[in-house]
């Protein structure tokens, strides 16, 4: 990674971190309600992977997807307005934290059913292949998804039909409060992918350099072979699963130990060692990010609510006025 790329990664990871911290604060002020799953600790994964994609590439993620949405190009204004339940939200306030969407940015959710996006990513990849659009498709999910039946069905089909999906497993060790060791018989997740005759690799998800290097290799393989690739990112969430989680299932010492591997601090340290990051630059970065988020919150707070009489709109897409006889 050259200097500007490292700077971009640092900036994006810090933006994500700060946005999530602001969300947590707004949650306690009851500006944001419902379920809120924060990404703090895992930033290197979304930043590293999505920065290697093109705007036209498809991303489908999970309910812990603020970062992926932001980095795929949805504005912090549209995300914040969505969390506030307002009309200017990226899903018009109908989706909420777990259902961020933007067709324009090729971001297809935001799904609250674990592993439900996995088979959908196959279809996105198939469509791109058939329509010769050369879009890549990246599917993010947690290691918990690997216990779902549909995950295995999908891996089998992706490999069998050569569907070029980059499967990004963000292994943060806990499916809500149940640890990998307590929920899955084979905890070597790379092996699990290889069973389906699929290329796979393990990545240090706390190290942006490793994320970028191995994702690059995977994307090159996908572009060249038009086949799927599986990456396991070993990572950790520093915060509870959601705002309701009392965290009885893991010890403080474990969390503190992982915090010493914070991907943002690690990159800062590395950049300082290379003499390519000054404190002045960090302060500048903070100012920019603070300004972006202050603006996003003001925007969200002043955005209107959707009028209740529109409640029943958009259940169905309108029928196009087509003459059936001429069509067929």
């Amino acid at each position: 990674m050259d200097t500007s790329m490292q700077m971009k990664m640092l900036m994006d990871m810090r933006r994500v971190r700060k946005m999530e911290e602001v969300c947590a604060e707004l949650y306690t002020k009851e500006k944001i309600r419902g379920f809120l799953h924060l990404y703090i600790g895992q930033e290197a994964v979304a930043a590293g992977v999505i920065n290697l994609l093109n705007a036209k590439d498809n991303v489908i993620a999970t309910y812990r997807e603020h970062a992926h949405a932001l980095l795929k190009g949805i504005s912090s204004r549209a995300i914040m307005a969505e969390l506030f339940g307002r009309i200017d939200g990226c899903s018009k306030g109908r989706g909420g934290s777990m259902h961020l969407y933007s067709v324009e940015n090729r971001f297809f959710g935001g799904g609250a059913i674990v592993a439900s996006g996995v088979p959908q990513s196959l279809g996105l990849a198939m469509a791109s292949k058939r329509l010769k659009e050369r879009r890549r498709t990246v599917c993010f999910f947690g290691e918990g998804a690997m216990a779902e039946g549909v995950f295995h069905e999908s891996m089998n089909i992706a490999s069998l039909w050569h569907l070029p999906v980059l499967f990004c497993c963000e292994n943060n060790l806990y499916a809500m409060g149940t640890s990998l060791m307590r929920s899955q018989s084979q905890t070597d997740l790379v092996k699990r992918a290889q069973v389906y005759v699929m290329e796979a690799n393990r990545v240090d998800g706390m190290n942006i350099f490793d994320v970028v290097e191995k994702t690059k290799q995977a994307l090159e393989y996908i572009d060249r072979e038009s086949k799927p690739f599986f990456l396991e990112f070993q990572t950790y969430r520093f915060r509870p699963h959601s705002m309701y989680d009392p965290e009885k299932y893991r010890g403080k010492a474990e969390v503190e130990k992982w915090k010493t591997r914070c991907p943002i601090e690690a990159l800062e340290k590395k950049m300082k060692e290379q003499n390519i990051l000054s404190d002045e630059q960090l302060r500048d970065m903070d100012r920019q990010i603070d300004q972006e988020l202050r603006d996003a919150v003001i925007f969200a707070d002043s955005s209107a609510l959707e009028i209740s009489s529109d409640l029943e709109k958009d259940v169905f897409a309108p029928m196009k006025d087509q003459a059936y006889e001429t069509h067929l």
Partner: protein
């Protein structure tokens, strides 16, 4: 010209597959085998494996794949072998296909068709003989078509393929060999309206799919007793064409709903409730229902038959209501 329900489905399916470049059929044994009910027999050989995709036994995954393909700009047609197997894909159908447009604030369209065989009467036992179209009609975001005639089997798909929404089509297992007179598409054909299959003033007999023909037989039988029963074929459970139902009841003042599903929480309950809410003062007698007995489907022929409403049961009920 005579045509079977199966051949009508075949023609309809082939037409949309040929005409729409981005359409493909995906499901279990739709290709090399030719379709469990032989609807896509020889399509694989003629149209090739890209158009006719034999999927592994992974209902959730290939339904989810079809949703993704629709998001990506294709027009998938999924075949689920029987309605009971659709339970394995229910998460994808409901949580994603039905809800995605709404929860994305109207950005997403999912032009998806899911065809499946429904209904009992073929001694296939408890796990192959159900009617879950009423259940699925409960879900906002899904359109539910229930072709009961050869004409509908032939032409509904032509409209479904142009619909930018998820459309579920339930083909009744007992109708595949049924032959009917068949004409070219009527000018005013729409799959989303109920249709009077027989006019009459004595009573509105409301049904769809496999039960429709038993209702028509029963109505014919009632002519012997001088009673002209009106038979309504619902054709589409969501969106529901209430007007045809209410107009009929304003004329007949009596309604009997016949459904192959269990009575508790069934679609007939929904129809009955809507009649009560909207036509209460038009009713001369309470709305009645004939439904499947509340037991899982039995294998033995006599047991299965006595659980499902038969023509004689409908006649009996009609006589009871009209005297």
């Amino acid at each position: 010209m005579k045509l079977t329900y199966r051949d009508a489905l075949r023609q309809g399916l082939k037409e949309v597959l040929l005409k729409n470049e981005n359409t493909f059929l995906i499901g279990e044994d739709v290709g090399a085998y030719g379709g469990t009910y032989a609807v896509s027999m020889d399509f694989w050989q003629e149209l090739g494996p890209e158009k006719i995709m034999d999927a592994p036994l992974s209902e959730a995954a290939f339904t989810g794949l079809a949703i993704g393909a629709a998001l990506g700009g294709l027009k998938p047609i999924v075949e689920i072998m029987t309605v009971n197997f659709s339970l394995l894909a229910m998460d994808q159908i409901i949580n994603s296909a039905a809800f995605m447009r709404y929860m994305s604030g109207g950005q997403i369209t999912i032009p998806l068709i899911i065809r499946m065989t429904t209904g009992g009467g073929r001694q296939l036992g408890a796990q192959h003989s159900n009617s879950y179209e009423g259940w699925l009609a409960h879900i906002p975001g899904l359109k539910i078509l229930v072709p009961g005639t050869v004409e509908d089997a032939r032409y509904m798909l032509r409209f479904a393929i142009l619909d930018p929404n998820p459309v579920l089509i339930f083909e009744h297992a007992l109708l595949f060999n049924m032959q009917e007179d068949f004409k070219d598409i009527p000018k005013d054909f729409s799959p989303y309206q109920a249709k009077l299959r027989k006019s009459g003033k004595a009573l509105s007999l409301i049904s769809y799919g496999g039960m429709l023909h038993k209702c028509l037989e029963a109505a014919e039988e009632m002519l012997k007793f001088g009673q002209e029963v009106e038979v309504i074929d619902l054709r589409c459970l969501r969106p529901l064409d209430e007007k045809t139902i209410f107009d009929s009841i304003q004329k007949t003042h009596r309604a009997l709903i016949v459904e192959e599903d269990w009575k508790s929480g069934s679609f007939s309950a929904e129809i009955s409730a809507r009649i009560m809410e909207n036509c209460f003062s038009d009713l001369a007698v309470p709305v009645q229902r004939l439904c499947r007995k509340e037991v899982p489907a039995a294998y033995a022929k006599h047991l299965e038959e006595s659980a499902i409403p038969q023509t004689k049961d409908i006649v009996h009920k009609l006589q009871e209501m009209l005297t």
